[in-house]
């Protein structure tokens, strides 16, 4: 070959190389931390969009969820991203805004995430109410959204096809508490239900009422309180007058903790108290002795026994860190113990990762198809989605665990898993001392 020919070839290759570099620069608006992945293959950065309640009543739980999700983003990026079958390495960039715990901020912010920040995939905010608002935008713009921190069943009965639920649905939240009560005390007959008047808590209360009535319990009180209520004296009086065996209900962290505190302050002693959301939070113990004996459903606890072996026997694919690996990793990163909100945030990322890997693509339709067929187990538990038109995206495999605050050998309050039997760490204390 002559010099000209060689030159042409070299410049051709050079042009091709320049084009590739140009594509790379064009595709990723911002370089992921750590620069281009090792191995030198083509890299692509995917934007994950979501809102966090940096202010407002949902602040505590939402921040933990965001910590979990961000930890997943950092872990995946540090490992060089997800490798697709064609060698492309997918790294992630998280983009978030403050939704102030308000539903009317959600639609505006998620529209911004889709249109301005060019989010490829969306994660829901924390709480069913906010997630429901965000799901509208995901469906409208045809973006796959994984909801986490959102248990209400209603969102998945609206005919959406792009929204997938990581959490156990609300209809399964307190039904286990009724099962636990049945196991502990066959003579218990009366349950009082006091719940927050929001979407999620009302759904849980309704499911519990139906389930408990089926099991021949008498629901002696069934009342709702406004979100943000601080004075539960009249509810406690109503409960006292009805003398139930168990008190169940609650809502989100702030109101549930206050309700538990006021139950204790007024000297009410039901044999069992099972409340939503707040008891699994480490901060619940701030209310002191009022926390003693309180049972709470949790999406996940650090003592659960999900593992690669368990996945195999369940016929699911295993993905992500082991339970104790996640716990120590999260603790090292944020200097706090992970709660189930944190685990849910990380799990949402893992679910997306599983779907992208299975689809070997970041194309929305391919990922959607992969999500529909997903049957996986992570440290968070099983994940499988309902694919029927009536309830598309509803979580069908993940189950709740129930914790109870008990005094440990040194007299300090500590959480124990008391239900289901297969994963418990201690016997339930009944009645509450």
């Amino acid at each position: 070959m002559g010099t000209i020919g060689l030159l042409r070839r070299v410049s051709g290759i050079g042009l091709l190389a320049a084009a590739l570099v140009g594509c790379q620069a064009g595709a990723s608006p911002s370089t992921p931390p750590g620069g281009s992945p090792p191995g030198g293959g083509p890299a692509k950065t995917i934007v994950i969009g979501f809102t966090t309640s940096q202010t407002g009543s949902l602040n505590v739980e939402s921040t933990r969820q965001q910590h979990g999700l961000q930890l997943w983003v950092d872990d995946v990026n540090k490992a060089g991203g997800i490798k697709l079958s064609d060698g492309t390495a997918i790294t992630f960039q998280a983009k978030t805004y403050d939704d102030e715990s308000k539903a009317d901020r959600i639609q505006e912010l998620y529209t911004k995430l889709v249109n301005e920040d060019k989010a490829d995939f969306l994660i829901s905010p924390y709480s069913s109410g906010l997630a429901d608002a965000s799901a509208v935008i995901a469906e409208q713009y045809g973006k796959v959204m994984i909801t986490t921190g959102a248990a209400s069943d209603g969102t998945y009965k609206k005919g959406y096809s792009h929204v997938y639920q990581a959490y156990t649905p609300a209809s399964h939240y307190l039904t286990g508490a009724a099962d636990l009560l049945a196991k502990l005390d066959g003579s218990a007959k009366k349950i009082a239900i006091v719940h927050e008047n929001d979407k999620f808590s009302s759904d849980v209360a309704k499911a519990l009422t139906d389930y408990a009535t089926q099991k021949a319990y008498q629901i002696v009180v069934n009342e709702g309180y406004d979100s943000g209520a601080t004075d539960f004296a009249s509810f406690v009086n109503k409960i006292a007058a009805a003398s139930p065996d168990a008190v169940m209900g609650g809502g989100h962290f702030a109101d549930t903790s206050t309700f538990a505190k006021q139950l204790h302050e007024k000297g009410l002693k039901p044999k069992m108290v099972a409340l939503l959301v707040a008891p699994p939070e480490p901060k619940f113990a701030d209310i002191g002795n009022a926390a003693l004996g309180v049972v709470g459903p949790s999406q996940w606890e650090p003592t659960v026994k999900f593992s690669e072996e368990a996945a195999k026997s369940a016929g699911a694919t295993w993905l992500g860190p082991k339970v104790d690996e996640f716990v120590s990793h999260y603790k090292a990163a944020y200097n706090e113990d992970p709660s189930y909100h944190s685990a849910g945030g990380y799990a949402a990322g893992l679910i997306l990762q599983a779907a992208i890997q299975a689809a070997s693509s970041t194309d929305t339709d391919k990922v959607k198809a992969a999500m529909d067929g997903l049957n996986a187990m992570t440290f968070f538990g099983l994940t499988k989605f309902d694919t029927s038109a009536a309830a598309h995206g509803l979580q069908v495999a993940h189950e709740m665990v129930y914790i109870q605050w008990q005094k440990d050998s040194s007299g300090k309050l500590a959480k124990q898993v008391v239900w289901p039997d297969v994963t418990k760490t201690a016997e339930a204390v009944y009645p509450i001392p």
Partner: protein, 286 residues
């Protein structure tokens, strides 16, 4: 039903005392300075934060911190008067309304930026007191006692001291008081400060029961308006009585129906009083 009725009545009366103290602050300012203090709720909420920080950072017992919060309220009121209210005291009512409203927005805006709207709470356990089937948390008993002491002290101050007499004189007829040599400017500032001090005391006491945010004051400000109209403008004892009535009403309504009806009934009562007895159940002395 009877046990629930009695328990709710007791709860309502106890919290009614605290509502009464809050309303006394508003009615004092309304009666003496002749303006409506729309920053009432914001001062109340600031006092909640003040108590929280004294209790958690300085590790003080909340009831030891309360007098400090009260003094803070007095000074804050004096400051607000001098800066925002003094110039509009003799202007048409709208100007003073706008001035105090502006102060309200400034306080809420600044506090939201610093503290955000996440709830705070003072974790303090004062035990409980039981009498038969009625159990009351210790914090409510202490609050009631504090409210009674504060009311008594205010009464003694207004009716047994020289400055109190001056305040009553200015409330009665400002021009005549000035002619008698009473420095009305300073008396007005002091009265405003006393009003905010009472709001601060109420806020501090409420912080020992319930969690709060900077926006929590609004609900108590609204209740204070209803109570002030109920009890008669400018009548502190009327405000206390109004507080007790409103508190009991709140507690008792919830025995029979859902809690969501409480504001409807409260403000329904407000409208009825305005129509039937606009001077209040205990009309203030003129």
């Amino acid at each position: 039903m009877l046990t629930q009725f009695a328990a709710s009545l007791v709860d309502g009366l106890l919290i009614g005392f605290v509502y009464g103290v809050a309303a006394m602050g508003l009615t004092l300012i309304w009666g003496v300075v002749k303006i409506i203090n729309l920053a009432h709720g914001a001062i109340l909420a600031l006092a909640m934060f003040g108590l929280y920080f004294l209790a958690s950072w300085a590790g003080l017992n909340p009831y030891v911190a309360l007098p400090l919060v009260a003094i803070g309220g007095l000074l804050a009121g004096y400051g607000i008067y001098v800066v925002a209210v003094q110039r509009v005291v003799n202007a048409p009512p709208l100007s003073s309304l706008l001035a105090t409203f502006a102060v309200n927005m400034m306080i809420i805006g600044t506090a939201t930026t610093i503290f955000t709207t996440s709830p705070y709470s003072v974790t303090f356990d004062a035990g409980r007191v039981s009498a038969g089937f009625i159990t009351v948390p210790g914090t409510r008993i202490v609050a009631t006692v504090a409210a009674i002491i504060v009311t008594g002290a205010l009464y003694v101050f207004l009716y047994r001291s020289r400055t109190g007499k001056a305040i009553r004189a200015v409330a009665n007829n400002r021009d005549a008081a000035e002619l008698m040599g009473i420095p009305s400017g300073r008396i007005l500032a002091l009265s405003f400060g006393l009003g905010t001090m009472l709001a601060a005391v109420a806020g501090g006491l409420i912080a020992t029961f319930f969690p709060f945010t900077i926006l929590s004051g609004d609900a108590y400000q609204l209740k204070s308006f209803v109570i002030v109209v109920l009890g008669g403008l400018g009548n502190p004892l009327g405000a206390l009585a109004g507080g007790l009535i409103l508190g009991s009403l709140e507690g008792l309504v919830q025995v029979f129906t859902s809690a969501s009806w409480v504001p409807v009934i409260e403000f329904g009562l407000f409208v009825i009083i305005l129509l039937v007895r606009p001077n209040g159940i205990f009309p203030g002395r003129r």
